[in-house]
């Protein structure tokens, strides 16, 4: 490991993770060579278009992958302990208690046939061994904390009686109820109205500041990520293509894909300009060739990009200068700005304002 060793082990350390999908026509890698770290209390964003594997990554952390998918290589370490690759029982001890998760659509993520109270108390009763009454009181105080009105009455209601924004607050309250060290938020605002989105993001910020909960925020919306995150990992077609601090990625994006994403973000300054979107779509599982997966959509692509996979290059950050570190681990290193691109490997830099 090239990075300077930190005092405490990272909260979450994903190393060279590979997830495969088994179909009738064979096995396909959905995620490949994923390296990512989350420090205690840190907020890390994962961004990319849909189909890049962001959700698969977040589900793999808790062993919630669909039956056809499995972790085939690599490992996930939580507080220096190795998480199992599969097995429901092994994951149960950390789910909810150590790592909690909230999902995209709060309407369908809650059980329609059980009351809010039932769903908000079952986790604390199981993990923290609270009595029914204690669990209810705990739930009420959490409902207050996340800004839900009339918390006592809510316990007796059913999910369909609440709005989407309220339900997402309920989901967050439930997720926080065992005081987890890491909260995985998978597109937590995508299904909500714009005004509600902002409120939910504010709530997540408050939680991070008050409780020191680390957050892994998954979103296709770079605006949401920029607003929230200390560090950002950009994913494309099952790989992390660039990782760095929010400033590094916004001020000096190195990967053409990151640049493309940035140009597609609507900002007040760009109000009158036409927003640029990246032409083409994310290649499907069977369309991923041997070379760079972005080459078909990249303005700078050369023959080499088509033929061989680009190396991971560290362009700045702790442990060395531009181009110093390559290979596995470089993307994971905390505080490093690293990129998976031939251009960066050659020149050590890219024109900042592409197009």
């Amino acid at each position: 490991m090239l990075s300077a060793p930190t005092e405490a082990p990272p909260l979450l350390d994903i190393r060279d993770l590979r997830v495969e999908l088994t179909t009738a026509r064979g096995r396909w890698p959905v995620l490949e060579g994923i390296d990512l770290r989350v420090e205690p209390g840190e907020t890390v964003g994962i961004v990319g278009e849909s189909g890049c594997g962001k959700s698969v990554l977040s589900l793999s952390l808790l062993g919630l992958l669909p039956p056809a998918m499995r972790i085939s290589e690599g490992e996930i370490r939580y507080e220096a302990g190795r998480l199992p690759r599969e097995g429901e029982e092994a994951f149960r001890r950390i789910r909810g208690r150590e790592i909690a998760m909230i999902f995209q659509d709060p309407m369908s993520s809650l059980n329609p046939a059980l009351t809010i109270g039932e769903q908000a108390t079952e986790m604390t009763r199981l993990h923290l061994k609270l009595t029914k009454r204690e669990a209810r009181e705990h739930a009420v105080s959490l409902f207050r904390k996340v800004g839900l009105p009339r918390p006592e009455a809510l316990l007796k209601e059913y999910p369909h009686q609440l709005s989407g924004g309220m339900l997402q607050r309920v989901m967050i309250a439930i997720a926080l109820s065992c005081a987890p060290k890491l909260l995985i938020a998978d597109e937590p605002t995508t299904a909500l109205d714009v005004t509600i989105q902002a409120q939910i993001l504010e709530l997540l910020k408050t939680i991070r500041e008050e409780d020191g909960t680390a957050i892994l925020l998954v979103s296709h919306d770079l605006g949401v990520i920029a607003d929230m995150c200390d560090r950002i990992a950009v994913m494309y077609a099952g790989q992390v293509v660039e990782v760095g601090t929010a400033e590094e990625l916004f001020d000096s994006p190195r990967h053409p894909y990151t640049q493309g994403l940035l140009q597609a973000v609507p900002t007040p300054a760009k109000k009158r300009e036409k927003l640029l979107s990246i032409p083409g779509t994310v290649p499907a599982l069977h369309e991923r060739g041997a070379g760079c997966r972005f080459h078909s959509r990249c303005a700078y692509a050369t023959e080499r990009c088509l033929l061989s996979a680009p190396p991971v290059v560290r362009v700045s950050g702790a442990g060395g200068g531009a181009g110093a570190g390559t290979g596995a681990g470089a993307l994971a290193a905390t505080g490093a700005h690293a990129v998976r691109c031939w251009l960066a490997a050659e020149e050590g830099g890219l024109p900042h304002a592409a197009g």
Binding site: L62, A100, S108, L114, Q161, I174
Partner: protein
């Protein structure tokens, strides 16, 4: 629950019952030839026939007969049985508890056996247990319940001598012996019902397992059994309740036949004897009553479906 929905459903109930009254009336008026003659046979004297016609009311004009029948049915007065010379209602009342407890016991067995089996099949979908359950339920659907009744008698009554067959004991006398006397027929009755419910529950469970709330429940670290029995089952059971309720009619009808196998003194034996005796008022009354019970149960099931499903409840 929405009152308008209940009211609408109630109107449908009344309409269906009216239709049944219509059918039971006209069915026994289109009997070829003179019903009195059909009952008494060709050797009857004209006086005898006249007397019976007066008793049956068939000497009146058709419209008047129909009004009589509706009026009677509304007051639960179905006339007197020709054979027993007793009010039809009394005869039915004496035998209803037998058939009813048989049907209820069969229903209880169905639910107790089918729910765990359906869940087990859904949890192990595609595995050996699922395939075995699927094969066994196909066979269960194909076995006529009166034959499985005969086989049960053969095995447990004749060969093993565990149960004394053909000796009915009412609940009021001895609950334990009563249960013993009803157990075999109830098991025979429940076999096809179990098959239906298992298959249905398996399907609804599998539909539920794809839904996102299941993933949420798992992400909370709940035990798999909690996820299945609490989260999924509560949702999967809502449609299953309807199937079970709707099949109550089938169970009741099946018990009419199964009583014959076990010589239980219930509605079925009364009906078959009445048909044999051409005791038309009794047959008419029995059919109307059984059909009405079935229709009423379906009505209650419909309402309970609305009550069970929190989404419908408030609409």
């Amino acid at each position: 629950m929405n009152l308008a929905y209940a009211a609408r459903r109630f109107v449908t109930l009344l309409l269906t019952v009216f239709f049944v009254i219509l059918v039971t009336f006209f069915a026994f008026r289109i009997i070829p030839g003179n019903p009195a003659l059909a009952i008494l046979g060709t050797e009857a004297t004209p006086e005898q026939i006249q007397e019976l016609e007066a008793k049956l009311g068939t000497d009146l004009p058709l419209g008047e007969q129909f009004l009589h029948w509706i009026g009677g049915a509304a007051a639960f007065d179905f006339g007197d049985s020709l054979r027993y010379s007793e009010p039809v209602l009394d005869l039915i009342g004496a035998r209803l508890p037998v058939t009813f407890s048989l049907a209820l016991l069969a229903l209880a067995i169905t639910v107790l056996v089918a729910v765990p089996l359906g869940i087990a099949a859904a949890r192990r979908r595609g595995k050996a247990l699922d395939l075995i359950i699927s094969a066994v339920t196909q066979i269960g659907l194909a076995i006529p319940s009166f034959w499985s009744g005969i086989v049960l008698v053969l095995v447990f009554g004749v060969m093993l001598k565990w149960f004394s067959v053909s000796h009915y004991v009412p609940w009021s006398e001895n609950a334990w012996l009563s249960l013993r006397s009803l157990l075999l027929p109830a098991v025979a009755l429940s076999i096809p019902q179990i098959a239906i419910v298992v298959r249905y529950l398996r399907t609804t469970m599998l539909e539920q397992l794809h839904l996102e709330y299941v993933r949420t429940a798992r992400s909370k670290g709940l035990r798999p059994s909690t996820v299945y029995y609490k989260h999924v089952l509560k949702n999967a059971l809502i449609p299953v309740v309807t199937v079970v309720g709707m099949n109550f009619g089938e169970i009741l009808a099946g018990s009419l036949v199964i009583e014959q196998v076990f010589t239980l003194p219930g509605l079925g034996r009364l009906l078959i004897t009445a048909i044999g005796n051409r005791d038309y008022p009794l047959v008419q009354g029995l059919v109307l009553l059984v059909a009405s019970i079935v229709i009423f149960v379906n009505f209650v099931v419909d309402l309970s479906y609305a009550w069970l499903n929190p989404k419908i409840r408030l609409r």
